[in-house]
């Protein structure tokens, strides 16, 4: 574990990513302290420029943009992390079963996985959210439903190689139950690639969430970066920063998580490093 931290520390991109992620998480946690009250509330005169009276200005309804960014950080991170956790769990269960049992179970589950990989995922997410009516919960469900297949494939591969390893064979020979072998023996051994994939999936989930909110499919009662860009869009000519600021926040957060994920990959799997 010490090694992992050391290798992560040598990775400049990962350090930058970690720094930005810490800032965004702090912003999200402290949103209620820094900007108390409803971020949808009118704070001042509409369309004031950044650095004028408010740090990042106000939008067309006089809402404080900085407050929106802070509260939006909470939405993005929450949805990104929860959707990824759901997707990873789903992917691990399906991939694990397919890889461990093989045969017919594997065939059926992999067909299902392939099916979910072929269909246009973002369109599927749109259809799901639109039909189930937009809310934080449906957004999480939609993102999880469209992002689990890669995890299932990854875990299946790991399980298939582990299945024939001697320590697993020994456990089976000792009469250990399937459940115990899967949960106590194999799962801990394939966790590091799952952690890496999961961290990159959080970034992707944040992108999908912001795109859904931009299209007007976000939870109408929750402030989010995508919503801010969507509503600022009509004022592009007069107040382009209304779109630019939340977009920069998305870009920076997603970039940071990607860099951190890559750093984790190099740190956790040093042998796989091709360069």
């Amino acid at each position: 574990m010490r090694d992992v931290w050391r290798r992560l520390g040598q990775h400049r991109g990962a350090l930058f990513g970690l720094g930005v992620v810490v800032v965004v998480v702090t912003l999200a946690v402290a949103a209620d302290v820094l900007f108390p009250g409803d971020p949808f509330r009118m704070a001042g005169e509409p369309l004031s420029r950044p650095l004028d009276r408010f740090l990042l200005g106000t939008d067309m309804l006089g809402r404080d943009v900085a407050a929106g960014i802070a509260h939006g950080a909470r939405t993005s991170l929450l949805i990104g992390v929860v959707a990824t956790l759901v997707a990873v769990t789903l992917g691990m269960v399906i991939g694990g079963l397919a890889g461990y049992y093989g045969g017919l179970v594997d065939d059926v589950l992999m067909r299902v996985t392939e099916f979910f990989q072929t269909i246009p995922t973002f369109l599927f997410a749109i259809v799901l959210v639109a039909i189930l009516s937009p809310s934080t919960r449906t957004t999480v469900v939609a993102i999880a439903v469209v992002t689990w297949p890669p995890v299932a494939r990854l875990v299946r591969g790991e399980f298939m190689t582990m299945r024939s390893r001697e320590f697993v064979q020994a456990c089976v020979a000792l009469g250990m139950s399937d459940r115990r072998v899967i949960v106590r023996q194999i799962l801990p051994n394939c966790l590091s690639p799952v952690v890496v994939t999961g961290s990159l999936m959080v970034a992707n989930a944040i992108l999908v969430e912001s795109a859904l909110a931009f299209l007007g499919l976000g939870d109408p009662n929750v402030m989010s970066w995508g919503f801010m860009i969507g509503s600022g869009r009509t004022f592009l000519r007069t107040a382009w920063w209304l779109c630019a600021i939340p977009g920069a926040a998305i870009l920076l957060t997603v970039l940071a998580i990607n860099l951190l994920g890559e750093g984790l990959n190099d740190a956790l799997n040093p042998r796989l490093r091709p360069r």
Binding site: V127, L132, G226, L236, C243, V254
Partner: protein, 309 residues
């Protein structure tokens, strides 16, 4: 084919997941359908009969491409979608060619001298564009290139008022295509560049490269051999990304008002015309299946060792 059947079943489930009566969804939930049409729908989909019967009827209708009627647009859904398919295919085709082509070139350039400044610049840009939300990039392009510099039009596919024909019209459409295609292409360009760079580096260590070098083949010829092998994962990825490309075009088309399937999907969201939305989803999935078949064929050209089953 099983995929298309699967989508049809999925659509059926979605119709029934929606709050309210299935007939409201099928009629477009716009409240604008006539009672006669609603009664006709109930009969056609057997909505008073058991669920398995409904499923069979629904899937049969979908597979016969009977997608219903959109009261918002006053047109059959199928005709509406086919009308909007052209612009989307134009956008997607342009993006595919540009992103795969430029991605291969940039990947080769970056891998030629790993860790040089050229590699650093290309790789960093690829990482940044890989993290950029498409809709935001599009809006920023509009601010910079349409509103401030006035180089490219911000919305639409052509100047209808100019009544261009022939070559003039094609040029006008190309002019409108620049910003939406660039926006959508940059993300995929980043993806393919990273993939191509990794594949080139992986191939560079192979035995056949050493053999070629040992027999004194010039470096340029060796690179050509390596490129041909390194291109395979990029083509695979390009095929897998068709579905995601369609999703990206929803966002980009609604930013730039490009009159394709994506914009239609965006409009159907606002009109709560779910039947239209489901129709777009169904046909998009069919499109993805077709593209995947084409990719399989392209594969046999690139690597003759692979045979079409």
């Amino acid at each position: 084919m099983p995929v298309i059947l699967g989508i049809a079943v999925l659509n059926f489930i979605l119709v029934h997941l929606a709050p309210g009566d299935a007939v409201d969804v099928l009629a477009g939930e716009a409240g604008s359908a006539t009672p006669d049409y609603m009664r006709m729908l109930r009969e056609k989909f057997g909505l008073d009969r058991p669920l398995p019967v409904q499923l069979v009827l629904y899937v049969k209708n979908l597979l016969l491409l009977d997608l219903g009627f959109s009261f918002r647009h006053n047109m059959p859904v199928l005709a509406l979608i086919l009308e909007r398919l052209g612009p989307t295919l134009l956008l997607m085709g342009t993006v595919l060619v540009v992103s795969v082509g430029a991605g291969i070139v940039l990947g080769v350039l970056a891998a030629a001298r790993p860790r040089s400044w050229r590699d650093t610049v290309i790789s960093s840009l690829a990482v940044i564009f890989y993290a950029t939300p498409l809709f935001w990039l599009g809006l920023m392009f509009i601010v910079a290139f349409s509103l401030k510099l006035n180089w490219f039009p911000a919305t639409g596919m052509e100047d209808v008022a100019m009544l261009h024909t022939g070559v003039r019209r094609a040029l006008d459409i190309a002019h409108h295509l620049v910003l939406p295609a660039t926006t959508l292409a940059l993300f995929y360009l980043a993806l393919y560049t990273r993939l191509m760079r990794a594949a080139m580096l992986e191939q560079a260590g192979m035995d056949y490269v050493t053999a070629a070098r040992a027999k004194g083949l010039p470096e340029g010829r060796i690179t050509l051999h390596v490129v041909r092998n390194a291109v395979l994962p990029v083509v695979t990825m390009a095929g897998l990304q068709t579905g995601s490309l369609l999703g990206g075009s929803v966002v980009v088309e609604s930013v730039f008002g490009w009159p394709g399937l994506g914009l239609l999907a965006f409009q159907s969201l606002f009109a709560r015309d779910f039947n239209l939305l489901l129709g777009i989803f169904f046909l998009s999935a069919c499109l993805v299946v077709i593209v995947n078949l084409l990719v399989d064929v392209a594969y046999t050209f690139l690597d003759p060792r692979i045979e079409v089953r």
